[in-house]
Protein backbone atom coordinates (compact mmCIF):
# COMPACT_ATOMS: atom_id res chain seq x y z
CA UNK A 1 0.00 0.00 0.00
CA UNK A 2 1.61 3.25 -1.07
CA UNK A 3 1.01 6.04 1.39
CA UNK A 4 1.85 9.64 0.86
CA UNK A 5 1.07 11.13 4.27
CA UNK A 6 1.44 14.70 3.06
CA UNK A 7 -1.12 14.18 0.30
CA UNK A 8 -3.52 12.46 2.70
CA UNK A 9 -3.06 15.32 5.15
CA UNK A 10 -3.85 17.97 2.55
CA UNK A 11 -6.90 15.90 1.64
CA UNK A 12 -8.25 15.92 5.20
CA UNK A 13 -8.19 19.73 4.99
CA UNK A 14 -10.15 19.48 1.73
CA UNK A 15 -12.90 17.62 3.63
CA UNK A 16 -13.15 20.52 6.10
CA UNK A 17 -13.85 23.09 3.39
CA UNK A 18 -17.03 25.09 3.64
CA UNK A 19 -17.02 24.40 7.36
CA UNK A 20 -16.43 26.08 10.69
CA UNK A 21 -13.73 24.96 13.14
CA UNK A 22 -14.54 26.03 16.69
CA UNK A 23 -12.33 26.56 19.76
CA UNK A 24 -13.51 24.50 22.74
CA UNK A 25 -12.12 24.08 26.22
CA UNK A 26 -14.22 21.21 27.62
CA UNK A 27 -15.92 18.03 26.31
CA UNK A 28 -19.28 19.74 26.96
CA UNK A 29 -18.34 22.68 24.74
CA UNK A 30 -17.05 20.23 22.13
CA UNK A 31 -20.44 18.51 22.06
CA UNK A 32 -22.22 21.85 21.75
CA UNK A 33 -19.93 22.76 18.87
CA UNK A 34 -20.47 19.43 17.12
CA UNK A 35 -24.26 19.69 17.54
CA UNK A 36 -24.14 23.24 16.17
CA UNK A 37 -22.45 21.97 13.01
CA UNK A 38 -18.70 22.45 13.58
CA UNK A 39 -16.69 20.45 11.02
CA UNK A 40 -13.84 20.14 13.55
CA UNK A 41 -12.95 21.47 16.97
CA UNK A 42 -9.78 23.02 18.33
CA UNK A 43 -9.11 21.71 21.84
CA UNK A 44 -7.39 24.18 24.11
CA UNK A 45 -7.33 25.00 27.81
CA UNK A 46 -8.03 28.67 27.37
CA UNK A 47 -9.56 30.45 24.41
CA UNK A 48 -7.44 33.25 22.92
CA UNK A 49 -9.42 36.05 24.63
CA UNK A 50 -8.59 34.53 28.02
CA UNK A 51 -4.96 33.85 27.04
CA UNK A 52 -4.72 37.50 26.16
CA UNK A 53 -6.31 38.55 29.46
CA UNK A 54 -4.19 36.20 31.57
CA UNK A 55 -0.83 37.14 30.04
CA UNK A 56 2.23 35.08 30.94
CA UNK A 57 3.51 32.08 29.00
CA UNK A 58 0.90 30.12 27.17
CA UNK A 59 1.67 26.46 26.33
CA UNK A 60 0.22 23.32 24.77
CA UNK A 61 -2.87 22.07 26.64
CA UNK A 62 -2.88 19.09 29.00
CA UNK A 63 -3.03 15.92 26.83
CA UNK A 64 -5.63 14.47 29.18
CA UNK A 65 -7.94 17.39 28.50
CA UNK A 66 -7.37 17.01 24.74
CA UNK A 67 -8.07 13.27 24.90
CA UNK A 68 -11.30 13.99 26.78
CA UNK A 69 -12.43 16.11 23.87
CA UNK A 70 -11.30 13.50 21.31
CA UNK A 71 -13.49 10.95 23.13
CA UNK A 72 -16.47 13.30 23.29
CA UNK A 73 -16.94 13.99 19.57
CA UNK A 74 -16.79 12.14 16.24
CA UNK A 75 -15.50 15.09 14.18
CA UNK A 76 -11.75 15.79 13.75
CA UNK A 77 -9.99 17.31 16.75
CA UNK A 78 -7.15 19.80 16.42
CA UNK A 79 -4.82 21.11 19.13
CA UNK A 80 -2.23 23.86 19.33
CA UNK A 81 1.47 23.67 20.01
CA UNK A 82 3.89 26.57 20.33
CA UNK A 83 5.77 27.80 17.28
CA UNK A 84 8.98 25.80 16.99
CA UNK A 85 8.12 23.46 19.88
CA UNK A 86 8.55 20.14 18.11
CA UNK A 87 8.44 18.20 21.39
CA UNK A 88 4.91 19.47 22.06
CA UNK A 89 4.04 18.46 18.49
CA UNK A 90 5.50 14.99 19.10
CA UNK A 91 3.24 14.66 22.15
CA UNK A 92 0.19 15.68 20.13
CA UNK A 93 1.12 13.15 17.45
CA UNK A 94 1.56 10.47 20.14
CA UNK A 95 -2.05 10.95 21.28
CA UNK A 96 -3.15 10.72 17.61
CA UNK A 97 -4.52 14.20 17.24
CA UNK A 98 -6.09 14.80 13.80
CA UNK A 99 -4.44 18.17 13.13
CA UNK A 100 -1.79 20.25 14.92
CA UNK A 101 -2.02 24.04 14.83
CA UNK A 102 1.50 25.47 15.19
CA UNK A 103 0.04 28.63 16.57
CA UNK A 104 1.06 32.19 17.28
CA UNK A 105 -1.73 32.26 19.90
CA UNK A 106 0.61 30.40 22.26
CA UNK A 107 3.95 31.85 23.34
CA UNK A 108 6.56 31.03 20.70
CA UNK A 109 9.15 28.48 21.83
CA UNK A 110 11.64 29.30 19.08
CA UNK A 111 12.09 32.81 17.72
CA UNK A 112 13.94 31.67 14.59
CA UNK A 113 12.78 28.26 13.46
CA UNK A 114 9.34 26.83 12.90
CA UNK A 115 8.81 23.09 13.34
CA UNK A 116 10.10 20.94 10.50
CA UNK A 117 6.65 19.59 9.84
CA UNK A 118 7.85 17.14 7.22
CA UNK A 119 9.16 14.98 10.08
CA UNK A 120 5.61 14.29 11.21
CA UNK A 121 2.84 11.95 10.06
CA UNK A 122 0.00 14.08 11.47
CA UNK A 123 -1.02 17.20 9.56
CA UNK A 124 -0.23 20.78 10.52
CA UNK A 125 -2.14 24.01 9.98
CA UNK A 126 -0.21 27.28 10.32
CA UNK A 127 -1.14 30.95 10.36
CA UNK A 128 0.02 33.41 7.72
CA UNK A 129 -0.48 37.12 7.16
CA UNK A 130 0.87 37.23 3.64
CA UNK A 131 1.80 34.93 0.78
CA UNK A 132 5.47 34.68 1.80
CA UNK A 133 4.57 33.38 5.25
CA UNK A 134 2.02 30.96 3.80
CA UNK A 135 4.47 29.49 1.29
CA UNK A 136 7.27 29.26 3.89
CA UNK A 137 4.98 27.28 6.18
CA UNK A 138 3.98 25.04 3.26
CA UNK A 139 7.62 24.39 2.38
CA UNK A 140 8.17 23.37 6.02
CA UNK A 141 5.35 20.84 5.59
CA UNK A 142 2.11 22.60 6.59
CA UNK A 143 -0.86 20.97 4.83
CA UNK A 144 -3.34 23.75 5.60
CA UNK A 145 -3.05 27.52 6.02
CA UNK A 146 -5.21 30.00 7.89
CA UNK A 147 -4.97 33.77 8.18
CA UNK A 148 -3.50 34.84 11.49
CA UNK A 149 -6.01 37.60 12.07
CA UNK A 150 -5.74 38.90 15.59
CA UNK A 151 -6.90 36.13 17.92
CA UNK A 152 -9.07 36.82 20.93
CA UNK A 153 -10.13 40.30 19.88
CA UNK A 154 -13.41 39.82 18.03
CA UNK A 155 -11.97 42.36 15.61
CA UNK A 156 -12.01 41.18 11.99
CA UNK A 157 -9.73 43.87 10.57
CA UNK A 158 -6.51 41.85 10.66
CA UNK A 159 -8.00 38.70 9.14
CA UNK A 160 -9.35 40.87 6.32
CA UNK A 161 -5.96 42.53 5.88
CA UNK A 162 -4.18 39.15 5.73
CA UNK A 163 -6.64 37.61 3.29
CA UNK A 164 -6.58 40.65 1.02
CA UNK A 165 -2.79 40.70 1.13
CA UNK A 166 -2.58 37.04 0.12
CA UNK A 167 -5.13 37.52 -2.66
CA UNK A 168 -3.34 40.51 -4.09
CA UNK A 169 0.06 38.80 -3.96
CA UNK A 170 -1.41 35.74 -5.67
CA UNK A 171 -2.84 37.93 -8.45
CA UNK A 172 0.50 39.66 -8.85
CA UNK A 173 2.30 36.31 -9.28
CA UNK A 174 -0.33 35.15 -11.74
CA UNK A 175 0.23 38.15 -13.96
CA UNK A 176 4.01 37.79 -14.02
CA UNK A 177 6.09 36.65 -16.93
CA UNK A 178 7.82 33.33 -16.20
CA UNK A 179 11.20 35.09 -16.19
CA UNK A 180 10.04 37.28 -13.33
CA UNK A 181 9.09 34.37 -11.10
CA UNK A 182 12.69 33.66 -10.04
CA UNK A 183 13.01 37.12 -8.61
CA UNK A 184 9.56 36.84 -7.02
CA UNK A 185 10.77 33.72 -5.20
CA UNK A 186 13.76 35.70 -3.96
CA UNK A 187 11.66 38.63 -2.79
CA UNK A 188 9.06 36.42 -1.09
CA UNK A 189 11.86 34.27 0.43
CA UNK A 190 10.18 31.04 -0.67
CA UNK A 191 11.08 28.07 -2.91
CA UNK A 192 10.68 28.60 -6.64
CA UNK A 193 8.44 25.57 -7.22
CA UNK A 194 5.80 27.01 -4.87
CA UNK A 195 5.91 30.37 -6.67
CA UNK A 196 5.47 28.52 -9.94
CA UNK A 197 2.49 26.61 -8.52
CA UNK A 198 0.77 29.85 -7.50
CA UNK A 199 1.56 31.42 -10.87
CA UNK A 200 -0.05 28.52 -12.72
CA UNK A 201 -2.98 27.79 -10.43
CA UNK A 202 -3.90 31.17 -8.96
CA UNK A 203 -4.03 29.75 -5.46
CA UNK A 204 -1.80 28.25 -2.80
CA UNK A 205 -1.38 24.46 -2.98
CA UNK A 206 -3.26 23.79 0.26
CA UNK A 207 -6.64 24.73 1.72
CA UNK A 208 -6.80 28.27 3.14
CA UNK A 209 -9.14 29.17 6.02
CA UNK A 210 -9.86 32.48 7.72
CA UNK A 211 -9.06 32.86 11.41
CA UNK A 212 -8.65 35.47 14.09
CA UNK A 213 -11.42 37.86 15.06
CA UNK A 214 -14.49 36.19 13.50
CA UNK A 215 -17.42 36.99 15.82
CA UNK A 216 -20.61 37.20 13.73
CA UNK A 217 -22.28 35.46 10.76
CA UNK A 218 -21.51 38.61 8.77
CA UNK A 219 -17.79 38.31 9.64
CA UNK A 220 -17.82 34.72 8.40
CA UNK A 221 -19.64 35.70 5.19
CA UNK A 222 -17.15 38.52 4.61
CA UNK A 223 -14.17 36.18 4.88
CA UNK A 224 -15.80 33.57 2.61
CA UNK A 225 -16.53 36.21 -0.01
CA UNK A 226 -12.91 37.30 0.21
CA UNK A 227 -11.92 33.77 -0.77
CA UNK A 228 -11.52 31.85 2.49
CA UNK A 229 -12.40 28.18 2.07
CA UNK A 230 -13.75 27.90 5.61
CA UNK A 231 -13.56 29.66 8.95
CA UNK A 232 -12.03 29.17 12.39
CA UNK A 233 -14.00 30.76 15.21
CA UNK A 234 -12.12 31.04 18.48
CA UNK A 235 -13.32 33.23 21.26
CA UNK A 236 -16.28 34.50 19.23
CA UNK A 237 -18.60 31.64 20.19
CA UNK A 238 -18.10 30.74 23.81
CA UNK A 239 -17.48 34.37 24.80
CA UNK A 240 -20.87 35.37 23.45
CA UNK A 241 -24.31 35.46 25.05
CA UNK A 242 -25.80 32.43 23.29
CA UNK A 243 -23.04 30.08 22.05
CA UNK A 244 -25.32 27.40 20.51
CA UNK A 245 -27.33 29.85 18.47
CA UNK A 246 -24.36 31.92 17.36
CA UNK A 247 -22.35 28.82 16.40
CA UNK A 248 -25.21 27.41 14.38
CA UNK A 249 -25.80 30.76 12.64
CA UNK A 250 -22.13 31.07 11.67
CA UNK A 251 -22.17 27.52 10.23
CA UNK A 252 -25.13 28.40 8.02
CA UNK A 253 -23.61 31.73 7.03
CA UNK A 254 -20.49 29.92 5.79
CA UNK A 255 -22.57 27.57 3.62
CA UNK A 256 -24.69 30.33 2.08
CA UNK A 257 -22.16 33.14 2.36
CA UNK A 258 -23.43 35.10 -0.60
CA UNK A 259 -27.12 35.02 0.33
CA UNK A 260 -27.50 38.31 2.22
CA UNK A 261 -31.18 37.71 2.88
CA UNK A 262 -30.47 34.44 4.65
CA UNK A 263 -27.60 35.96 6.61
CA UNK A 264 -29.85 38.82 7.68
CA UNK A 265 -32.25 36.29 9.18
CA UNK A 266 -29.39 34.36 10.77
CA UNK A 267 -28.09 37.53 12.38
CA UNK A 268 -31.32 38.23 14.26
CA UNK A 269 -31.55 37.76 18.04
CA UNK A 270 -28.16 36.16 18.51
CA UNK A 271 -27.77 37.76 21.93
CA UNK A 272 -24.67 39.60 22.89
CA UNK A 273 -21.60 39.25 20.67
CA UNK A 274 -18.23 38.99 22.38
CA UNK A 275 -17.30 42.46 23.56
CA UNK A 276 -14.10 42.58 21.60
CA UNK A 277 -11.14 44.90 21.66
CA UNK A 278 -9.80 46.99 18.81
CA UNK A 279 -6.37 46.24 17.47
CA UNK A 280 -5.07 49.65 18.58
CA UNK A 281 -6.21 48.96 22.15
CA UNK A 282 -4.02 45.91 22.57
CA UNK A 283 -0.36 45.84 23.40
CA UNK A 284 0.37 42.32 22.14
CA UNK A 285 0.04 41.64 18.41
CA UNK A 286 0.04 37.85 18.13
CA UNK A 287 0.13 38.08 14.34
CA UNK A 288 3.69 39.43 14.60
CA UNK A 289 4.85 36.10 16.03
CA UNK A 290 6.47 33.61 13.66
CA UNK A 291 7.22 34.97 10.22
Amino acid sequence: MENNRYKLNKELAQMLKGGVIMDVTTPEQAKIAEAAGACAVMALERIPADIRAAGGVSRMSDPKMIKGIMDAVSIPVMAKCRIGHFAEAQILQAIEIDYIDESEVLSPADDVYHINKRNFDVPFVCGAKDLGEALRRISEGASMIRTKGEPGTGDIVQAVRHMRMMNSEIRRLQSMDEDELYNAAKVLQVPFDLVQYVHENGRIPVVNFAAGGVATPADAALMMQLGAEGVFVGSGIFKSGNPEKRASAIVKAVTNYSDAKMIAELSEDLGEAMVGINENEISLLMAERGK
Partner: protein, 188 residues
Protein backbone atom coordinates in the same frame (compact mmCIF):
# COMPACT_ATOMS: atom_id res chain seq x y z
CA UNK B 1 -26.93 15.88 -18.79
CA UNK B 2 -26.98 17.97 -15.60
CA UNK B 3 -25.71 16.82 -12.20
CA UNK B 4 -26.56 18.54 -8.91
CA UNK B 5 -23.73 18.58 -6.38
CA UNK B 6 -24.72 19.02 -2.75
CA UNK B 7 -22.55 21.94 -1.66
CA UNK B 8 -23.36 22.49 2.01
CA UNK B 9 -19.91 21.52 3.28
CA UNK B 10 -16.98 19.37 2.20
CA UNK B 11 -15.07 18.74 -1.01
CA UNK B 12 -17.85 19.45 -3.50
CA UNK B 13 -15.50 21.55 -5.67
CA UNK B 14 -13.36 18.47 -6.36
CA UNK B 15 -16.45 16.58 -7.55
CA UNK B 16 -17.39 19.44 -9.84
CA UNK B 17 -13.91 19.36 -11.31
CA UNK B 18 -14.23 15.64 -12.05
CA UNK B 19 -17.66 16.09 -13.65
CA UNK B 20 -16.25 18.84 -15.82
CA UNK B 21 -13.46 16.50 -16.95
CA UNK B 22 -16.16 14.04 -18.02
CA UNK B 23 -17.96 16.78 -19.91
CA UNK B 24 -21.01 16.79 -17.65
CA UNK B 25 -22.73 20.01 -16.70
CA UNK B 26 -23.16 20.54 -12.97
CA UNK B 27 -24.39 23.04 -10.40
CA UNK B 28 -24.22 23.50 -6.65
CA UNK B 29 -27.14 22.78 -4.35
CA UNK B 30 -26.91 25.09 -1.33
CA UNK B 31 -30.54 25.93 -0.64
CA UNK B 32 -34.09 25.02 -1.53
CA UNK B 33 -34.40 27.31 -4.54
CA UNK B 34 -31.48 25.48 -6.20
CA UNK B 35 -33.76 22.46 -6.58
CA UNK B 36 -35.95 24.35 -9.05
CA UNK B 37 -33.45 23.37 -11.70
CA UNK B 38 -33.96 19.98 -13.32
CA UNK B 39 -31.12 17.49 -12.88
CA UNK B 40 -30.35 13.90 -13.83
CA UNK B 41 -28.08 12.86 -11.00
CA UNK B 42 -26.98 13.89 -7.51
CA UNK B 43 -23.61 13.88 -5.81
CA UNK B 44 -23.28 13.72 -2.04
CA UNK B 45 -19.66 14.73 -1.39
CA UNK B 46 -17.13 14.02 1.31
CA UNK B 47 -17.04 16.24 4.36
CA UNK B 48 -18.47 15.83 7.83
CA UNK B 49 -21.75 13.91 7.85
CA UNK B 50 -22.80 15.57 11.13
CA UNK B 51 -22.53 18.99 9.49
CA UNK B 52 -24.12 18.10 6.17
CA UNK B 53 -26.94 16.13 7.86
CA UNK B 54 -27.75 19.05 10.14
CA UNK B 55 -27.68 21.63 7.35
CA UNK B 56 -29.84 19.46 5.09
CA UNK B 57 -32.59 19.59 7.70
CA UNK B 58 -32.21 23.21 8.69
CA UNK B 59 -32.11 24.51 5.14
CA UNK B 60 -35.19 22.40 4.28
CA UNK B 61 -33.41 20.35 1.63
CA UNK B 62 -33.84 17.06 3.45
CA UNK B 63 -37.35 15.97 2.44
CA UNK B 64 -37.25 17.10 -1.21
CA UNK B 65 -33.88 15.41 -1.79
CA UNK B 66 -34.96 12.25 -0.01
CA UNK B 67 -38.03 12.09 -2.24
CA UNK B 68 -35.92 12.46 -5.36
CA UNK B 69 -33.62 9.65 -4.20
CA UNK B 70 -36.48 7.27 -3.37
CA UNK B 71 -38.04 8.15 -6.73
CA UNK B 72 -34.91 6.76 -8.38
CA UNK B 73 -32.65 9.76 -9.01
CA UNK B 74 -29.12 8.36 -9.50
CA UNK B 75 -26.84 9.24 -6.56
CA UNK B 76 -23.08 9.01 -6.15
CA UNK B 77 -22.22 9.33 -2.46
CA UNK B 78 -18.68 9.44 -1.14
CA UNK B 79 -17.56 9.01 2.47
CA UNK B 80 -19.82 11.40 4.42
CA UNK B 81 -22.29 10.97 1.56
CA UNK B 82 -22.36 7.22 2.15
CA UNK B 83 -23.23 7.85 5.79
CA UNK B 84 -26.15 10.02 4.66
CA UNK B 85 -27.57 7.14 2.58
CA UNK B 86 -27.11 4.36 5.16
CA UNK B 87 -30.13 2.93 6.93
CA UNK B 88 -28.04 2.22 10.03
CA UNK B 89 -24.98 3.86 11.52
CA UNK B 90 -23.25 1.52 13.94
CA UNK B 91 -21.68 4.10 16.24
CA UNK B 92 -24.27 6.86 15.92
CA UNK B 93 -28.02 6.97 16.58
CA UNK B 94 -28.71 9.36 13.75
CA UNK B 95 -30.17 8.21 10.46
CA UNK B 96 -30.15 10.65 7.58
CA UNK B 97 -31.74 9.69 4.24
CA UNK B 98 -31.56 6.00 5.17
CA UNK B 99 -32.36 5.00 1.59
CA UNK B 100 -29.77 2.19 1.30
CA UNK B 101 -29.99 -1.08 3.19
CA UNK B 102 -26.48 -0.89 4.55
CA UNK B 103 -25.00 -0.51 8.01
CA UNK B 104 -21.92 1.69 8.17
CA UNK B 105 -19.38 2.45 10.83
CA UNK B 106 -18.08 6.01 11.01
CA UNK B 107 -14.33 6.70 11.22
CA UNK B 108 -13.97 2.94 11.03
CA UNK B 109 -10.30 2.98 10.02
CA UNK B 110 -9.44 5.28 12.94
CA UNK B 111 -8.34 8.87 13.15
CA UNK B 112 -6.26 10.81 10.59
CA UNK B 113 -3.18 8.62 11.17
CA UNK B 114 -5.33 5.72 9.90
CA UNK B 115 -6.08 7.46 6.57
CA UNK B 116 -4.57 5.63 3.58
CA UNK B 117 -4.42 5.23 -0.16
CA UNK B 118 -4.76 1.94 -2.05
CA UNK B 119 -6.30 0.49 -5.18
CA UNK B 120 -8.77 -2.30 -5.62
CA UNK B 121 -11.05 -4.04 -8.07
CA UNK B 122 -14.55 -2.59 -8.36
CA UNK B 123 -17.45 -4.50 -9.93
CA UNK B 124 -18.61 -3.12 -13.33
CA UNK B 125 -15.67 -0.72 -13.35
CA UNK B 126 -12.33 -2.52 -12.86
CA UNK B 127 -9.30 -1.51 -10.85
CA UNK B 128 -9.62 1.96 -9.29
CA UNK B 129 -7.46 4.05 -6.93
CA UNK B 130 -9.02 4.56 -3.51
CA UNK B 131 -8.27 7.30 -1.00
CA UNK B 132 -9.65 6.84 2.50
CA UNK B 133 -9.73 9.89 4.79
CA UNK B 134 -10.96 9.14 8.32
CA UNK B 135 -13.19 6.86 6.35
CA UNK B 136 -16.20 4.74 7.22
CA UNK B 137 -16.79 1.23 5.91
CA UNK B 138 -19.85 -0.95 5.46
CA UNK B 139 -20.34 -3.59 8.13
CA UNK B 140 -23.57 -5.04 6.75
CA UNK B 141 -24.87 -5.00 3.23
CA UNK B 142 -28.24 -6.75 3.40
CA UNK B 143 -30.24 -5.20 0.59
CA UNK B 144 -27.41 -3.71 -1.45
CA UNK B 145 -24.93 -5.19 -3.86
CA UNK B 146 -21.25 -5.26 -2.84
CA UNK B 147 -19.07 -3.49 -5.43
CA UNK B 148 -15.68 -3.47 -3.76
CA UNK B 149 -13.80 -4.64 -0.71
CA UNK B 150 -10.41 -3.76 0.64
CA UNK B 151 -8.70 -5.68 3.45
CA UNK B 152 -11.90 -7.68 3.81
CA UNK B 153 -13.95 -4.54 4.48
CA UNK B 154 -16.82 -3.53 2.20
CA UNK B 155 -16.01 -0.10 0.81
CA UNK B 156 -18.42 0.26 -2.11
CA UNK B 157 -22.02 -0.81 -2.70
CA UNK B 158 -24.93 -0.21 -4.99
CA UNK B 159 -28.68 -0.39 -4.56
CA UNK B 160 -30.83 0.58 -7.51
CA UNK B 161 -29.44 3.89 -8.74
CA UNK B 162 -27.57 4.66 -5.53
CA UNK B 163 -23.81 4.15 -5.32
CA UNK B 164 -22.12 4.52 -1.93
CA UNK B 165 -18.34 4.69 -1.61
CA UNK B 166 -16.29 4.84 1.60
CA UNK B 167 -13.43 6.44 -0.35
CA UNK B 168 -12.98 9.58 -2.45
CA UNK B 169 -12.81 9.14 -6.24
CA UNK B 170 -12.89 12.97 -6.42
CA UNK B 171 -9.34 13.04 -5.00
CA UNK B 172 -7.74 10.71 -7.55
CA UNK B 173 -7.08 11.11 -11.22
CA UNK B 174 -9.14 8.17 -12.42
CA UNK B 175 -12.57 9.12 -13.81
CA UNK B 176 -13.90 5.60 -14.41
CA UNK B 177 -16.33 5.77 -11.47
CA UNK B 178 -17.76 9.05 -12.78
CA UNK B 179 -18.19 7.62 -16.26
CA UNK B 180 -20.07 4.68 -14.77
CA UNK B 181 -22.24 6.99 -12.64
CA UNK B 182 -23.00 9.23 -15.61
CA UNK B 183 -24.05 6.18 -17.62
CA UNK B 184 -26.68 5.49 -14.90
CA UNK B 185 -27.85 9.10 -15.12
CA UNK B 186 -28.33 8.98 -18.87
CA UNK B 187 -30.37 5.75 -18.77
CA UNK B 188 -33.46 7.52 -17.53
Amino acid sequence: MVIGVLALQGDFAEHKQKLAECGAECFEIRQLKDLERKFDGLILPGGESTVIGKLLREIDLFEPLKKKITDGLPVLATCAGMILLAKNIENDNTVHFGTMDITVKRNAFGRQLGSFHTSSEMKYIGEVPMTFIRAPYITECSGAEILAETDGKIVASKQGNQIALAFHPELDECIKIYEYFLSLCSDD
